[in-house]
Amino acid sequence: MNESITLNYDVDSNDFTRAGEASSSVKRKLKLMGVDPDIIRKVAISLYEGEINMVIHSYGGTIEVIISTDMIEMILRDKGPGIEDTELAMQAGYTTAPDNIRSLGFGAGMGLPNMKKYSDDLKIESVVGKGTTVRMKVYIPKNIS
């Protein structure tokens, strides 16, 4: 694989039946491409947490996944409402999710910490009233690519 491949997905707000479809599709494609299972799991978990966050908290947005020989980059862009205090949002256990989200098994304040844990690089840019862009990278070590 010499050139990079880009995958694009739309994510709807509050659609919990379809939530995770993008992550599922990315995972299947990486498997077909023969990517190392540990790398796939890192991508799948961090992307899935990010996708769930978009469904819970945002007004909807897009996911772009760029697969190249040395890394997999995930860019999640939403249309708002933006995060007021990203440092606080990163703290394990901090959540603004409503009760109905907790009844689904989410809203424990572990989404962003998990994304940080499983990705090799995480950057969050957020403007209140405009939206949030989350960029995650998972590197593919040379000996297993």
């Binding site: 919990f16 039946t17 799991r41 947490e49 689904l104 989410f106 998990n114």
Partner: protein
Amino acid sequence: MTIKDIKEALGARYICGEELEDREVHAACGSDMLSDVLAFVKDRAVLLTGLCNPQVIRTAEMMDIVCIVFVRGKMPDDVMIEMAKERDIVLLSSGHRMFSACGLLYEKGLRGGAPYR
């Protein structure tokens, strides 16, 4: 331990995936918080949960979990069953509550993986 062993230890019944009952399970996770499940990678794990929504199947998919046991007699709907079939995930339903179900499997030698640090 195989999925069949889990089914027998819990007096559970198959919802789908009976044909995969000889698959090996190496670890277990009991939780109603999906982000907790996502926080700790385990090899060839079974998930015990009282949650019953499509995100349980998705979480299992992301973690390569081989079998889900719904405790307290919970029954997934057709959409969830179809999702599990497509992903080769075995679904079991047990009348036991979470604590007892986990205890029965622990007694049979199944463990939860490395402790949290």
